[in-house]
């Protein structure tokens, strides 16, 4: 017998004895998930559910590991209920009981009391995953139905107390449901407690007013009147009105004082965006100087323009690493609510939903890519490489802003960017560059101190692109203006105003707070901390607690959330706090009027109290995280848990924060969360494996190796499942994040070593390891081994088993590279095309592209440039509609190179233009350098030597991912042809000092340099030297005849450049013919 309880937290009983749940977080989650859902579940679904941000193969490997751990923890008897085959996993069988399944069974049978008795707490208490939140919400809805039925049944049967209990419980679940309120009021009155019934009425009315903005229904009011025996009391109405009042705070509605010039400038810039061009504006100044107030005034101005949309996000808030792109999430959430759903690109919806989970319901559903009906590519359905995912997220945001701008002018305000995460800054640059010709104004506010080099770099990048329209520095207000400001807020004696104005140092915030403090009587307070403290001390305990909670939150909090805080009367507290001039209400959110006020309150809190409040707020966020609008809060929850001193609990949240960061391609932030997690729990191997993978995708090999080494130390030597999973993941990231095929080979061999301990174990893992090893051997080992290894893949799977699409891709890719390595280039086409199709079926256009661009390069190696061009053309429908911008640049680069080689120069020019446009969209200097490089070579081919010199020079400056020695030689040739011989000599010298890698085809460089030296000598009239050098060049190429491209050199270039070689491939016959012509010209 196996009994699993999920309501109130996970508990497991086996034959009447309680047993410990699995130690691993994922294994526990898997158990709970399966226990909730009877029946068999596809492994693919489970893998995607629990490891959504890793490659499919890695996710399946992790699933195998989790199933193994689960089986081990349930023991031989309990494990019998866990049935797993190649495709599915289930938790079922005679003798298995799950309380939530029992709850549903009893409810369906009408045994409401027994069903309710099972509910000793929240379903899946302690589980933070999104699916758990959804299940919790669903269960609460079912419980509400059962409680309603129970209340009705008990009332009808005369069991008044039981009916009242059920109704009151139900009211906690549905506090705004007036019918429930009326039932409870009736039952309370029937029990003789009319006062409690009326108190309930008041509470509910206030809540409905505050949250729904409407009056209670006549039926509820009539019941209250009936219970009172008279008209509705004045006191309740007064309360309701008082609650409404703070939503229009007097201070915020005052005219802007002392910033008229700045507001005029900003308004002018805003108006210009409609008719001329958009861009970025920065408002800088110290805290409290009036940046926020100025932005709000601009928003008000902007809102007057017909059809205008305005949205705001605020960065930072509290200590600790912020959620990546949080400031954007807030602003985009604001913007999406103003947009018609049809204005949003369905292809971008999945990426926008990652950033703004709360807006997912407002986004259109993703659709298959209509641009390539013949290619089975699912847009956005599978996780690609993190760098590609990052570009897709950025592109989705830029696309949303661009589409919004088609509907009307857009003002985006991102506040406090000095506190923003690095990814938010990058995205600001990405979007800022794209709006210069659109009616969009992106307004950034920042403090000058402390210095933030990456913020300065971001603004410099915008300036360099001509996207930064203006920077405004807000300076302290003159004393006379401060006086005017104080008078606009409160009436104070002239001497007090003078005293405050002089002490404010021109800070409007300080002046207003000090003036407000004085307006309540007593001596003038001249510091912000003192003024804030005075305001807080005037509050009732409940209101003070609310203010303190908001200070701990470090950001605005939804009004509805505040009502769930552990306060005796949160509504009353909120009303009072809003009236105390510390807080403000905006768009359903309540927060401090200024971050400095929150900081002042926070600093005054005693440490133990602060920790307790952080704990309360973490709990509030945790509850919200499970709901449909609660996503991307893990980093924040972790921060609060840590500040509450509950580090151990924070570990899971940090791991989730890292996954959230990966989902939006924020790898440095993901690594930061994982580093923090392992610092707390240095014994969790899973965390270290995750960290190793993230560091690998960042290209940090040493860091990745160190984390992986630590993981290996922590995994028990006999924990085969974890070892296999870890080695397989490492094998894959070493061929993706880090191009290090030799180490990848070692990883796959290690995985196979563990698998060999039990030859019958996990054929799928064995197949994956063998296919990975086959690729690694093909690229960096013995290609002859590849065929044998792929045959072993077939043996591992057995005849009846067809490999998955991703495995089919891996097999084809490995086979093709073995052929390429053996210089059997033409034979590699078929496996590459098949691998591309399999990758497409698996929803991985990035991998499908990689196959075809390799095919293009292989065809170029055979000299079949038409065929190569055909393959390159077929890349475009894979990359362009899927937002794979970097591959777009590479695909057009390949096309430009091939078209130039084919002499189709006009078409090459078009390809170069497209390449440059995509490079500009990515915004990476090196890609723009690549576009310059290709345009430079085209200019050289066209005889436009001045352009060639300019473009090739810039490509070297920008660090284009090309062979630098070769690019210098081409530049030297262009300089010779432009008559700049001394400059050409300098480039030749620089060539000799450039680091040379195998991908530079070093054995051809000497011949190439001799040729350029010969051309230079000929141009200078030194025929003897020219002949000598050209002859040496000719001999050099002659030695390479018949050895145009070797598989080794191809692979070396692939590893060096990170993409298949095309522009640096060598054609000895072609080169030799050119030199012979040049030699002959010397004799004429």
């Amino acid at each position: 017998m196996l009994a699993i309880r999920l309501i109130g937290g996970l508990e497991i009983g086996r034959d009447g004895t309680r047993i410990a749940p699995p130690a691993g977080r994922r294994a526990r989650a898997l158990l709970a998930w399966l226990a909730l859902r009877p029946g068999r579940h596809p492994r693919s679904r489970l893998a995607a559910q629990f490891w959504p941000d890793v490659l499919d193969a890695s996710a399946r490997a992790s699933l195998r590991s989790a199933v193994w751990a689960l089986r081990a923890s349930l023991g031989p008897d309990g494990g019998a209920y866990l049935s797993a085959d190649r495709e599915t996993v289930a938790l079922d069988g005679e003798g298995l009981t799950v309380d939530v399944r029992e709850f549903d069974r009893l409810a369906a049978a009408g045994h409401f009391g027994e069903a309710v008795a099972l509910c000793r707490g929240e379903l899946l208490d302690g589980f933070d995953d999104e699916w758990a939140g959804v299940a919790r919400e669903s269960h609460l809805a079912r419980l509400a139905n059962v409680l309603g039925a129970l209340a009705r049944e008990a009332e009808a049967d005369g069991r008044g107390a039981e009916a009242l209990n059920a109704a009151q419980w139900l009211l906690q679940l549905r506090p705004l449901d007036e019918s429930v309120c009326r039932d409870a009021m009736r039952l309370l009155a029937a029990a003789g407690d009319v006062a409690a019934a009326l108190e309930l009425y008041e509470r509910t009315c206030s809540r409905i007013r505050a949250e729904l903005g409407c009056a209670p229904s006549p039926a509820t009011t009539a019941l209250a009147l009936q219970l009172r025996g008279g008209p509705e009391p004045v006191r309740a109405a007064a309360r309701i009105n008082a609650a409404d009042a703070p939503l229009n705070r007097p201070i915020d509605s005052q005219p802007l004082v002392g910033r008229g010039v700045e507001l005029g400038v900003l308004t002018l810039l805003w108006q210009r965006t409609h008719y001329e061009s958009g861009g970025v504006v920065v408002v800088a100044g110290e805290g409290g100087i009036g940046k926020t107030r100025l932005c709000e005034a601009l928003r008000a101005e902007a809102g007057r323009f017909p059809g205008a949309m305005t949205a705001t996000g605020t960065a930072g808030g509290g200590a600790g690493a912020p959620t990546p792109l949080a400031v954007w999430s807030e602003a985009l959430g604001d913007l999406i609510t103003q947009l018609d759903r049809s204005a949003i690109d369905p292809a971008a919806a999945p990426y926008l939903a990652r950033l703004v989970p709360a807006a997912a319901a407002d986004l259109p559903a993703a659709a298959p890519n209509p641009a390539s009906p013949d290619t089975p590519v699912l847009v956005g359905h599978a996780a690609a490489e993190p760098q590609l995912e990052r570009v897709r997220v950025f592109e989705a945001v830029a696309g949303l802003v661009i589409r919004a701008a088609r509907e009307g002018p857009v003002l985006l305000v991102l506040e406090d960017m000095h506190a923003a995460d690095p990814s938010s800054l990058e995205l600001a640059v990405y979007v800022g560059r794209r709006i210069t010709r659109l009616p969009v104004l992106l307004l950034l506010t920042r403090r000058r101190l402390p210095p933030r080099p990456d913020l300065e770099a971001a603004l410099a990048a915008l300036r360099a692109r001509g996207a930064l329209r203006r920077s405004l520095d807000l300076t302290p207000l003159p004393t006379a203006t401060v006086r005017q400001l104080i008078h606009s807020v409160v009436d104070l004696p002239g001497s007090t105003v003078e005293q405050i104005a002089a002490a404010s140092g021109g800070s409007p915030l300080l002046a207003v707070e000090a003036a407000l403090a004085c307006s309540h009587g007593g001596e003038p307070v001249l510091g912000l901390a003192e003024a804030t403290r005075a305001a807080v001390y005037r509050l009732s305990p409940a209101a003070r607690r609310l203010v303190e909670l908001l200070a701990v939150a470090g950001r605005d909090v939804e009004h509805a959330d505040l009502l769930t805080l552990p306060l005796p009367d949160p509504e009353r507290a909120e009303t009072e706090a809003l009236g105390a001039d510390l807080l403000r209400a905006r768009s359903g959110m309540i927060g401090f009027r200024h971050a400095l006020l929150a900081e002042a309150v926070y600093r005054d809190l005693p440490d133990p109290e602060r920790a307790r409040l952080h704990d309360s707020f973490a709990e509030l966020l945790r509850r919200r995280a499970g709901g449909p609008a609660g996503g991307r809060r893990a980093a924040e929850i972790a921060r609060h848990l840590r500040l509450a001193g509950r580090d151990t609990l924070a570990v899971g949240q940090l791991a989730r924060a890292a996954a959230d960061a990966r989902a939006v391609g924020a790898l440095p932030e993901a690594a930061g969360f994982l580093h923090e997690a392992v610092a707390i729990d240095p014994h969790d191997a899973d965390l270290y494996v995750e960290l190793a993978e993230v560091e690998a995708w960042r290209g940090l090999q040493e860091e990745s190796d160190a984390a992986f080494g630590r993981a290996l130390e922590l995994i028990a030597p006999d924990d085969d499942g974890s070892l296999i999973s870890a080695w397989l993941r490492r094998g894959r990231w070493l061929r993706g994040g880090l191009c290090y095929p030799r180490e990848s080979r070692r990883a796959y061999r290690s995985a196979l070593d563990v698998l060999d301990r039990d030859p019958s174990a996990d054929p799928y893992a064995r197949a994956e390891a063998l296919a990975g090893l086959a690729w690694a051997e093909a690229v960096a080992g013995d290609p002859a081994q590849c065929g044998w290894l792929l045959r072993d893949v077939d043996l591992a799977l057995g005849r009846r088993e067809a490999p998955s699409d991703l495995l089919t891709h891996d097999i084809g890719f490995a086979r093709a590279h073995a052929l390429i390595r053996s210089a059997r280039f033409a034979e590699s086409y078929a496996p590459l095309v098949a691998a591309s199709a399999a990758a497409g079926r698996a929803g991985r256009p990035d991998m499908a592209y990689s196959c075809l661009i390799n095919a293009a390069s292989a065809a170029a190696c055979t000299g079949d440039f038409e065929r190569a061009l055909d393959f390159a053309d077929r890349c475009l429908p894979l990359v362009e509609p899927n937002g794979l911008l970097r591959p777009c640049v590479y695909a057009h680069s390949a096309r430009a190179t091939l078209l130039r080689r084919l002499g189709r120069l006009d078409e090459a020019r078009v390809a170069c233009r497209a390449e440059a446009e995509f490079a500009e969209r990515v915004g990476r200097a090196e890609l723009e350098g690549l576009a310059d490089h290709d345009r430079g070579l085209l200019a050289l081919a066209c005889g436009d030597t001045a352009d060639a010199v300019r473009l090739l020079t810039r490509s070297l400056e920008l660090g284009a991912p090309v062979s630098r020695p070769l690019a210098r030689l081409w530049l030297a040739e262009a300089l010779v042809r432009a008559g700049q011989y001394d400059a050409a000599d300098r480039q030749l010298r620089e060539t000799a000092l450039e680091p040379v890698a195998p991908g530079d085809f070093p054995d051809t460089l000497v011949a190439r340099m001799n040729r350029v030296q010969g051309l230079a000598a000929a141009a200078r009239g030194d025929r003897e030297r020219a002949r000598a050098r050209l002859t040496e060049a000719s001999e050099g190429w002659r030695r390479r005849l018949g050895n145009a491209a070797t598989g080794d050199s191809y692979v070396a270039a692939l590893i060096d450049l990170g993409r298949p070689p095309l522009s640096s491939l060598t054609e000895p016959e072609w080169e030799l013919a050119a030199i012979e012509t040049e030699l002959a010209a010397l004799d004429t």
Partner: protein, 144 residues
């Protein structure tokens, strides 16, 4: 591991020295003891070494031993920015580095040689060979 360093200055610009170092076909012209060079013949791809490339394989035949091929690899590394030449038969490693002098009219050539312990007895001979080869290299580059 026995090792030694040698250096000299050639009255030639770096590119002329570079061309001699990067062209195995020219080794017999300056490398003492090298009679002929043929392309290909390196250990190739199956090796388990830590280098991330397999390029530049060729076969050297020593003076007086036309039937004794010695596979070589001309390795390059972008990170280290130097030319390494290894003898795969005896695991000798030669690393060359070029530094421009006199505004590029001259070049300082530095070579670092590492000899495995099993070949330690060759230290004195190799020191002499490299010293003479270095002088040849500098002279030949200056004549280019």
């Amino acid at each position: 591991m026995p090792a030694f360093d040698e250096r000299t200055t050639a009255a030639a610009p770096p590119e002329e020295v570079w061309k001699l170092l990067y062209d195995p076909a020219r080794f017999p012209d300056w490398w003492v003891g090298v009679a002929t060079i043929e392309p290909g013949g390196g250990s190739g791809s199956g090796s388990d070494d830590d280098h991330d490339d397999d390029g530049g394989a060729y076969t050297m035949y020593p003076d007086g031993y036309p039937d004794f091929p010695m596979p070589q690899e001309l390795r390059t590394s972008r990170a280290r920015g130097r030319v390494e030449i290894s003898c795969l038969v005896s695991d000798l490693e030669f690393s060359w580095q070029l530094t421009p002098r006199d505004g590029g009219a001259a070049t300082e050539i530095a070579v670092h040689v590492e000899i495995p312990p099993s070949e330690a007895h060759r230290l004195e001979t190799q020191t002499d060979v490299i010293r003479r080869s270095l002088a040849n290299l500098a002279r030949l580059a200056a004549e280019s």
